[in-house]
Symmetry: C2
């Protein structure tokens, strides 16, 4: 039984000029849309995550409370449930899947929200990592529609260092001969395992490993963590999907929203939503400094770092202390 | 014309139990050994570096002044000049090259210093990165011989996070089918390029990229830097040599010196040399915190971080500000 719904978008012309034909947006909702449609929260997914991976931040008594709010989780294009290299028919399958930006993603999500549900205002857009990228994009693309945003462990423009980190991920896949330029029939398993190893050092902080926090997670050794968590994590993914989303990530920049002509600071200044911008204090590829710069250019934003040694995964929902910290600020932002 | 000398070690029994037969230690010296042999500096090489890569810290008027000191640069085992997978005859060639520790390296360097030159005291051992690892090892293996040490951008024990970072490097090589388990006839070029991409994010800091410091280095874009500097850097290396040195690095731990039974803190406490321990403030794989811990356990050590955004490459000799900072402290330590 599928626990999600497909919204049929038809043919969607993308920023890159290509058309994503019969585009599909997979989504899941929680709670009930109230009479005046004022209780809407949009919560996009992250790099390779699918809607169920977001559910840890939703619950009765939490900020994202389905008894109070109507929460929509749209699956990012390329994540295997929405239109992706792995599920798109020829000739746009696999390596020919077109480049999709955060702007494109949010334009499709906007159609879901307006055409399917008739929603005109969104109380909150929130997201982790690439979900944060989509969150900023919502606030820039639809400034009069989005009341609040809470991007966590992400950025409004992918930094050069972050782009470099992702080059390592990309080359880990592409170095596997089994990748075959994307025209594989079976996944490039060695490449996916290599991605796991490359990612392992970036996803968590130096201090996480120093304190062996993988042990209380149930891993018996460092190698057990590398195989069990990191290789296992990426072996479940499709290589072309990972590469498609990686392109989206590397090209993240709200300055490239039509009308801003690449001007990042002007795009930040255009955000009307009340914002809490929340990096992880020890995030190695979305370092707090980049968010501090953003907040300086946003009219109504507060900078709040998660005091955690879980690196990027401070926002991953794995440890309860960080989850409670995030949830407390979600509640405060929604109440304001 | 070779600018280095080979010291023939004969058969060397290693910590791992295997024998490195007809072992060779390549070295270069600068300056003249004085009459009482009191002006000796040992300056080991780093991951894939060769003796000439160390010369930027040597010069007239600098701390490492060949007019005053007799400076020996021993090439690390596995670096392509000393015994290495690439230059060792069958059956110990390529993938069968035995595992060599920092302890083994320093034992061989000690034989060079004592047997070849009759040296009994060393004024200073200094090294960057894996050279720092050998520096600590000198102070632990020969506490009564080493008067001063200045390990920079390195550690006395390879941290778990550092081990994880190196897993990404290792898998980048091994994922290339052309690696053939080490039995290649031609270098696995894609794997070496992938290593360059993986390394690029780790070697320099987030701030280095944020400020585009590759531009004043002469690179016209980020991609130009990735190809020209990072891929170019590793394409010159031998894949099995990189893997051999990587094993040495991952297994770095002065606590595994015979007599200490794995007790890292006891090994640190045994160091008699006066020390300046000098991390790069923004080094991502040798973070300052690990050195702070070390200094607490060393009897006569000062912690001095290089205030630089060049990450690990604060100690790479590329930028003059960091070089001057290091040199100033070399002078101060030698004068003390």
């Amino acid at each position: 039984m599928k626990d999600y719904t497909i919204f049929e978008l038809g043919d969607v012309v993308l920023q890159c000029g290509l058309t994503l034909r019969d585009a599909k947006l997979a989504y899941k909702t929680f709670g009930t849309l109230n009479a005046d449609k004022s209780n809407v929260i949009v919560y996009p997914t992250w790099y390779s995550g699918q809607h169920y991976d977001n559910e840890w931040l939703i619950g009765s008594g939490m900020g994202l409370d389905p008894e109070e709010y109507f929460i929509i989780i749209p699956n990012m294009i390329g994540n295997g449930l929405s239109s992706s290299p792995s599920n798109t028919p020829q000739p746009y399958d696999k390596s020919r899947f077109p480049h999709v930006t955060f702007y494109d993603n949010v334009a499709m999500q906007h159609r879901l929200v307006t055409e399917q549900f008739g929603i005109e205002n969104i109380a909150l857009v929130i997201g982790w990592s690439m979900g944060a990228g989509q969150t900023y994009q919502w606030a820039v693309s639809y400034p009069d529609m989005v009341e609040r945003i809470l991007p966590f462990c992400g950025s409004a423009r992918t930094s050069l260092h972050n782009i470099v980190f992702l080059e390592g991920v990309k080359f880990a896949i592409q170095t596997d001969a089994a990748w075959h330029g994307g025209w594989y029939e079976e996944q490039p398993m060695q490449g996916l395992r290599a991605v796991g190893r490359v990612y392992a050092g970036w996803g968590l902080s130096q201090a996480f490993y120093r304190e062996k926090l993988y042990e209380p997670m149930g891993y018996s050794s460092l190698e057990d963590f590398l195989v069990g968590f990191w290789e296992g994590f990426f072996l479940k993914k499709d290589a072309n999907n990972l590469l498609a989303m990686l392109w989206t990530w590397q090209n993240g920049n709200i300055g490239n929203t039509p009308g801003f002509d690449g001007n990042f600071e002007q795009a930040l200044a255009s955000i009307k939503a009340k914002a809490i911008v929340m990096p992880g204090q020890t995030d190695l590829y979305f370092p707090p400094e980049d968010n501090e710069y953003e907040v300086k250019h946003m009219p109504n934003a507060e900078f709040v770092a998660i005091p955690s040694i879980w690196g990027h995964f401070a926002g991953g929902g794995i440890n309860s202390v960080d989850t409670e910290f995030i949830d407390r600020h979600v509640k405060a932002l929604l109440a304001s």
